[in-house]
């Protein structure tokens, strides 16, 4: 009898402990993160024009410089880029074409990560934007290198915006273009993409980046 009661006691204590771990996130939206970083020395206020491609590339690994990069479906890209433009307009920016007679002040490069993580930005950005960036031939150059400490791990389905200077001659010490603003919305492009989640994340990215405002 005593053994039975002891067993009941032990089982009860075990169940009690098992049932006691607190709950975490319940919905996938609870895991959404918006990360922004910027170069504190870069004077956004003195700029006014920007250019961007009309597509959002997929980063699936090392780029094949002989092929055009894969892009995300237009239905999503259009909504994403429109939301970016709307926020930029609110901050006083004017959109121009990359090949306009007067070079844009800054260039924004959008991408979707299809890898589980990226360890070094340098590896994955090498060559992607050679075909778009004003003043550069396609392929084989270093399009961007952060000018500030960065988060080095992102999940699959992360939407990324990078801003570099529009002047092709403005490069860092290693010959690459410096990234002056970065935006990453973790996981918003996973599975069935919910455009509302994506546009909400973009709005949040701008909300936490008031230094992007121009004069």
């Amino acid at each position: 009898m005593k053994k039975t009661k002891s067993l009941i006691l032990v089982c009860a204590m075990g169940l009690m402990l098992l049932g006691c771990y607190p709950q975490g996130p319940e919905y996938v939206e609870d895991l959404d993160l918006v990360y922004t970083n910027h170069n504190d020395d870069y004077d956004f206020a003195s700029k006014g024009t920007y250019a961007r491609p009309d597509y959002v590339i997929k980063i699936t690994g090392q780029p094949d410089l002989d092929d055009n990069p894969e892009t995300i479906p237009d239905i999503y890209a259009t909504a994403i880029l429109a939301q970016f433009d709307a926020n930029m307009a609110d901050l006083g920016w004017t959109k121009v074409e990359a090949d306009a007679p007067v070079a844009p002040d800054i260039v924004m490069l959008p991408a979707s990560l299809e890898t589980t993580t990226i360890t070094y930005w340098y590896d994955y950005w090498y060559g992607w934007w050679g075909g778009y960036y004003p003043g550069y031939p396609g392929g084989g150059y270093y399009p961007g290198y952060p000018s500030y400490p960065v988060v080095t791990s992102y999940s699959t389905g992360t939407l990324i915006f990078l801003i570099t200077d529009g002047d092709p001659d403005v490069v860092g010490g290693n010959g690459s273009h410096l990234i002056h603003w970065s935006f990453a919305a973790n996981g918003v492009l996973t599975g069935t993409t919910n455009v509302n989640r994506v546009t909400k994340a973009i709005d949040q990215g701008f909300k936490q980046s008031p230094y992007l405002k121009t004069n």
């Binding site: 009941i8 009860a12 009690m16 402990l17 049932g19 607190p22 910027h38 500030y148 909300k207």
Partner: protein
């Protein structure tokens, strides 16, 4: 529903202990065993990190009587604190991160205890205790798919006051308040919390 399960388990637990003792017979008290449910209220640095009380906690104590009033023992305790933060933006240097944080703080004190029990009228016995030992703290901050884990083994002290109410020969209901302080160590500053304990003490 969860609260009902906790109450059921606690009732089963305490009833089992009480019945087991009642059958064991009586005699002079040489030792004690205590099982208590513990509710925690974080203070100081821990209170700033998690403002919600801990409804998840338990304490086990064993000890020997040196005299009818004085006993020494050992205590192992556990409390888990949890708080789901609202969506917020956290900024450091040049970067900002927005999202929901899920904060967890697990406390595991392991202490030697020195207790003094007033004899009183033998139905109600006030007592005081001082615990000294170590406390393991683990603080987990979950955000998105990432977790920031900080941990420490603190040197810890714990004063306690409470009262024992005799339920039957050798078995007592225990109600007490404890204040755990773990001094700064490892990844964490000093961690402290107040614990309200209710449970059963069996004396043999």
């Amino acid at each position: 529903m969860k609260k009902i399960i906790y109450i059921f388990l606690l009732t089963t637990l305490t009833a089992g202990v009480a019945n087991a003792q009642l059958e064991s017979g009586s005699g002079a008290f040489n030792s004690y065993t205590s099982v208590t449910y513990s509710v925690g209220f974080a203070t100081g640095d821990m209170g700033e990190y998690i403002s919600q009380p801990s409804w998840r906690g338990m304490t086990l104590e064993f000890g020997k009587f040196v005299t009818p009033e004085i006993s020494i023992g050992i205590e192992a305790s556990w409390n888990t604190f949890f708080e789901e933060m609202d969506y917020a933006t956290y900024t450091k240097d040049t970067y900002s991160l927005s999202g929901k944080q899920y904060r967890y703080n697990h406390q595991f004190p392991i202490l030697a205890s020195f207790n003094y029990t007033l004899q009183g009228d033998e139905i109600l016995r006030p007592f005081g205790s001082l615990g000294i030992g170590t406390m393991y703290s683990q603080r987990n901050t979950d955000m998105g798919q990432w977790r920031l884990k900080e941990e420490a083994w603190h040197f810890a002290l714990r004063p306690e006051i409470g009262i024992l109410y005799e339920l039957g020969e050798g078995s007592h209901l225990k109600v007490s308040g404890k204040y755990y302080t773990g001094f700064s160590a490892g990844d964490l500053d000093a961690q402290s919390y107040f614990a309200l304990n209710v449970g059963i003490v069996i004396m043999k």
